[in-house]
């Protein structure tokens, strides 16, 4: 639902760094029907964000008005349903999630209050340009999502398969149908449904 993508300007969101090292953080996770909520710290205050791997880091208009982050660009943006608008990209000097500190990360500014998710009162989105520094494990059976950069803290399944990161750090991988039809898709933790297939692929 919240999936958004920026037109052109390759790598525009993939700036900054994770300054913390050997990090480990767990987010409680009980229900796939609800958005994944995580509070973050900006300039010493706590704000309600959701974790959406189908979107870049985003902050609300209100947060931008109060914090006045420097504007990097004005760019066209489209959402998962091809609605488009022009939005600001600002530079977040420091954002902290649990014990993990990130510096100089670009964020889009979105009018959440007048969006379809206005009733959720969120201040922003932790997006894929934050996730790109991490190993992320979604484990509903243990009711947690793990953020870490330490491979020995995660129990992997035996089979590891490649992903391709696009210019927004969306993680694309392949699924197949009857071993003949292959679809390339990305995991979107902001979408409550199971699977939306590109309509041209579906028709094929």
């Amino acid at each position: 639902m919240l999936s958004v993508s920026l037109y052109a300007q390759d790598g525009i969101m993939n700036q900054g760094e994770m300054v913390s090292k050997k990090v480990y953080h767990e987010i409680p996770f009980f229900n796939t029907k609800d958005e994944i909520v995580q509070f973050v710290t900006l300039k010493g205050k706590s704000f309600k964000f959701i974790f959406d791997t189908g979107a870049p880091l985003a902050i609300s208009n209100e947060l931008q008005n109060s914090h006045q982050y420097p504007i990097l660009h004005l760019v066209p943006l489209k959402d998962a349903h091809n609605n488009s608008d022009t939005i600001k990209i600002v530079l977040i000097d420091t954002i902290q999630i649990g014990n993990i500190v990130f510096k100089d990360i670009p964020a889009v500014v979105i009018d959440f209050k007048n969006s379809p998710i206005g009733c959720q009162n969120i201040d922003g989105i932790i997006g894929s340009n934050i996730a790109r520094f991490l190993l992320v494990q979604f484990d509903l059976s243990q009711n947690k999502i793990i953020f870490t950069d330490q491979h020995d803290k995660i129990i992997f399944a035996k089979e590891k398969l490649p992903i391709i990161l696009d210019n927004q750090s969306n993680a694309f991988f392949k699924v197949n149908f009857n071993d003949t039809i292959i679809d390339s898709l990305h995991f979107d933790s902001g979408m409550g449904k199971l699977y939306d297939m590109n309509i041209s692929t579906a028709k094929n």
Binding site: N31, H81, P116, L135, F138, K160, N198, I199
Partner: protein
């Protein structure tokens, strides 16, 4: 509201309408499908999957996490999926 018809042979529904909302507003009215099928993710088969359609890129969402543990290693550019014996039903 989507008006649909069922194609019994291929096990899908076809319709026309607004299929969802994005952060910037409602989707446009468009042709849409609901397909009942199974698909393979790595070595694991997800049975009884209901797949919708989108005019943008294909996406898999949180409901997948009812079926297993998903690990995305952005650092080494790989992922793994471990299916659990029976899907978790979210309330």
């Amino acid at each position: 509201m989507i008006v649909t018809f069922k194609d019994e042979k291929n096990n899908f529904y076809k319709g026309y309408g607004i299929s969802g909302q994005g952060i910037l507003g409602n989707a446009q009215e468009e042709e849409t499908y609901l397909i009942n099928t199974k698909f393979k993710l790595g070595n694991h088969i997800i049975e009884n999957a209901q797949i919708g359609t989108t005019p943008t890129v294909s996406r898999i969402g949180r409901e997948l996490l009812n079926h297993g543990i998903l690990t995305i290693d952005y650092i080494r550019k790989q992922y793994s999926f471990e299916k659990i014996p029976s899907p978790i039903k979210s309330p």
